[in-house]
């Protein structure tokens, strides 16, 4: 009768094999090729940063077959690109990432051009709330992994010990592995399939962070010592319609105090488009408020 270690070993190997039925190789991605995950029937995802500028990529399917896949949409912010892969294999079994626990064993799985499936193992080392990427996109959950990224792991799935996908793996800072959780991938894939891109909110202003003189913030009853000076108002844009003027200092948007330009990002999520948000600003030394209808950032 085999021992626990043998059972454990078989479980992990089976998890890799099971999840591997949905893992493809994208040889043109990155420097040495990257991976992709068949997310839904006929739809795969990969790491957007690795296939920038490509409208079509070659993929190696789980069967070993080579195929061409059209890039159906891409989102720089979440690093997700959607590929059309007809007849590619089995769609991944998706886990509810909300059930993930710290300490759970996870595997990062990739497919390499010539060598087939590859995996590294580790743990979920911390779980946190929503966060924003360097590009300002909202990621619904922070899943920190204690796991060695390997060449070509980007775009492949991060799976639990049952082989269920908890997210897409991509490169994080300092040679770490970041996870884009299932809920975020679903949201982005839905939007990319509908519109080919992710809509972002738009104010139509140019801003510059400024600090108020000592005591001013207190006198005006503002929580933050800083504001965003409006240095450009796009003619006909949402801010212009709302009556925002050059030289206004924005201090609060939708009730949230601004700490810097990043604080605006929450008001620019795609679900805010078309909504009216109150914008508090300092004009001529007095606090005033306008109502702004969030627009959609034009495609450039």
């Amino acid at each position: 009768m085999p021992g626990f270690l043998v059972d454990f070993s078989n479980e992990l190997a089976e998890a890799v094999a099971r999840a591997g039925r949905s893992v493809i190789s994208v040889p043109e991605g990155g420097r040495e090729g990257v991976s992709g995950t068949i997310w839904r029937e006929g739809i795969a995802i990969t790491a957007e940063h690795t296939i920038r500028g490509l409208d079509e990529v070659e993929v190696i399917l789980p069967s070993g077959e080579k195929s061409k896949a059209a890039v159906a949409g891409r989102d720089h912010g979440t690093d997700i690109a959607v590929l059309k892969v007809a007849g590619a294999g089995v769609a991944a079994t998706l886990a509810d990432e909300g059930q993930a626990r710290v300490g759970e064993i996870v595997l990062s799985i990739g497919r390499r051009r010539d060598e087939g499936l590859a995996a590294t193992h580790g743990l979920i080392s911390a779980i946190g709330g929503p966060w924003r990427t360097g590009q300002g996109a909202r990621i619904d959950r922070w899943l920190r992994l204690d796991l060695n990224p390997f060449p070509g792991f980007s775009g492949g799935p991060v799976v639990n010990a049952r082989g269920e996908v908890i997210g897409m793996a991509t490169s994080g800072p300092r040679r770490s592995a970041a996870t884009i959780p299932v809920s975020t991938v679903n949201r982005v894939v839905d939007q990319l399939l509908q519109r080919g891109r992710i809509a972002r909110g738009y104010f139509g202003v140019g801003i510059q962070p400024v600090a108020f003189p000592e005591g001013t913030a207190r006198e005006l009853g503002i929580g933050s010592e800083r504001g965003l000076l409006v240095v450009m108002v796009e003619p006909g844009g949402p801010a212009a319609h709302a009556g925002v003027l050059l030289g206004d200092i924005v201090v609060r948007v939708d009730g949230a105090e601004l700490q810097g330009p990043q604080s605006l990002q929450g008001a620019l999520d795609s679900d805010k488009i078309g909504q009216t948000v109150p914008v508090d600003l300092v004009r001529g030394g007095k606090l005033t408020s306008v109502s702004l209808v969030v627009g959609e950032r034009p495609v450039r």
Binding site: G3, L5, E115, L117, A119, H121, N148, F150, P151
Partner: protein, 198 residues
């Protein structure tokens, strides 16, 4: 090379993962030796069969290696074969009745399978590390494993979850452990005429 027979009786009575790993480690330590080179170098080796130690070519540099067993006893090893192309060497020793490695072919390894390494890095004799197979060895001579190796692991065994030796740890590449496959070791021994003598 017969595959997958548990060689360690304690493997079947494991009551937890931790216990399983430690009893497996205990067994693997008995088939792992520390090799002390003439110029103070230190590496590892596997008791492949009675009277024969397999290690890396880059460990068996120079003449006169001292073979230290896990119980602290030692003998002198004589270089029987060495091939830098596959990074393997064999040392003959005058010692019999030793616990010897049970060998499994690396080609049957699946990515995700648990592997253990035992070796002698600078900060620990008989040090154990655990990980998983990174990718199938296929027809290749090298096993890639997601396991933390250190320089003194060179020449020591990489074993599966049942304690069967699947390769000889030889290098670290892009953070992954690399081991010469057991098939390659067997071919090396065959070519050196060291297999028939078994």
């Amino acid at each position: 090379m017969s595959a997958a027979t548990a060689v360690n009786p304690e493997a079947s009575s494991g009551i937890s993962i931790g216990y399983s790993v430690s009893s497996m480690a205990e067994w693997l330590r008995r088939i792992t030796v520390c090799l002390r080179g003439p110029r103070g170098s230190r590496g590892s080796g596997v008791v492949w069969r009675d009277g024969l130690i397999v290690t890396n070519a880059h460990v068996a540099v120079g003449k006169g290696h001292t073979v230290v067993f896990s119980d602290g006893t030692s003998v002198q090893g004589r270089l029987a074969a060495r091939d830098p192309a596959v990074d393997l060497a064999a040392l003959a020793i005058d010692a019999t009745g030793l616990p010897v490695a049970s060998v499994r072919g690396a080609r049957s390894l699946r990515p995700g399978e648990v592997v253990l390494a035992v070796g002698n890095p600078w900060d620990g004799e008989g040090a154990v590390s655990a990980g998983i197979v990174h990718r199938a060895a296929g027809q290749g001579a090298v096993i890639f494993a997601d396991i933390r190796l250190a320089p003194g692991n060179s020449g020591g065994p990489l074993a599966d979850a049942e304690g069967n030796v699947v390769g000889v740890n030889s290098a670290i590449f892009q953070g992954l452990g690399c081991a010469v496959s057991s098939e390659t070791v067997m071919e090396f021994l065959r070519q050196a005429g060291l297999l028939e003598a078994a």
